[in-house]
């Protein structure tokens, strides 16, 4: 059911913002946040800012991987 969710205020929207961005809300709670953001420029700006922050974190944190010598060592230990 969408479009018929109970309205939420700025404080409630902010409290659920990360769950919203992480896709962790139930469809009804997700719709409530979405509908608040559509009506509230301040919360939408906060949403955009936090979304940029999470994208920045993901990009920086995923850049690093196992160095080649570690990959070789693991393969050797596992299968030789």
């Amino acid at each position: 059911m969408t479009g018929a969710s109970d309205p939420i205020d700025c404080r409630q929207a902010a409290a659920r913002l990360y769950e919203f961005l992480d896709g962790e809300l139930t469809p009804a709670a997700d719709a409530a946040v979405r509908s608040h953001l559509a009506d509230c420029a301040h919360c939408l700006a906060l949403h955009d800012f936090e979304q940029a922050y999470l994208r920045f974190l993901a990009m920086r944190l995923r850049a690093q991987g196992a160095p080649p010598h570690v990959q070789r060592r693991i393969l050797r230990e596992l299968f030789e």
Binding site: D48, F49, L57, A58, L61, Q64, G65, A66
Partner: protein, 188 residues
């Protein structure tokens, strides 16, 4: 002694070994040193290979490996010293960064100016309980439910720790960016 013939080496390579980067990253964030991380990764992958027949097909192999990694790390730490006490009482005021710079930098472009080393340093300085949920979520993209399984805590705990971890890190990154002259706080 020769290893017992792995029952499904191909399956292990295809579904588990592809997550070696994730296991290494998490090992580095947990242990804080490349040498310790290497040993931790090796022990984790050996344990995982031996237990591979018990892995439940269709579930998240990355989450399974990270659970083994975390348990291995905790057992090591327990054997040598006590892990830093849980810090769930840490109070973090929410969304102060946005409040402070929304006029100067509403799109958060100051983040892009922060060098990788500084981001890693700030993450490694987080309390361990905060650091692990942040890495599991923001580096490894695990769901709240998967993180709860990895750390053996309720989903509600994951949710609140992740919220505070992200906010605390954001505040520290802003402090750094202000000191470095990348952005100015409102009214300062």
């Amino acid at each position: 002694l020769p290893h017992p013939a792995p029952p499904d080496r191909e399956g292990f390579e295809r579904e588990a070994l592809v997550h070696l980067d994730a296991v290494y990253r998490m090992a580095l964030r947990l242990s804080g040193s490349p040498a310790d991380a290497e040993d931790l990764v090796q022990e984790t992958m050996l344990k995982a290979l031996r237990a591979w027949h018990r892995f439940e097909r269709g579930t998240n192999a990355k989450a399974w490996l990270l659970t083994i990694l975390r348990n291995t790390y905790i057992n090591q730490v327990r054997a040598t010293r006590h892990r830093a006490a849980t810090v769930d009482v840490t109070e973090v005021e929410a969304f102060t960064v946005f409040r402070d710079i929304q006029d100067a930098d509403p799109e958060g472009s100051f983040f892009a100016a922060i060098v990788d080393d500084e981001v890693v340093r700030a993450i490694d300085a987080l309390p361990p309980d905060f650091r692990e949920v942040l890495v599991l979520s923001d580096a490894e993209d695990l769901s709240y439910g998967e993180i709860a399984t990895v750390i053996g805590a309720p989903v509600g705990t994951v949710k609140s720790r992740l919220f505070r971890a992200r906010q605390l890190l954001q505040q520290r990154l802003l402090d750094y960016a202000v000191r470095a002259g990348y952005v100015r706080r409102r009214g300062r």
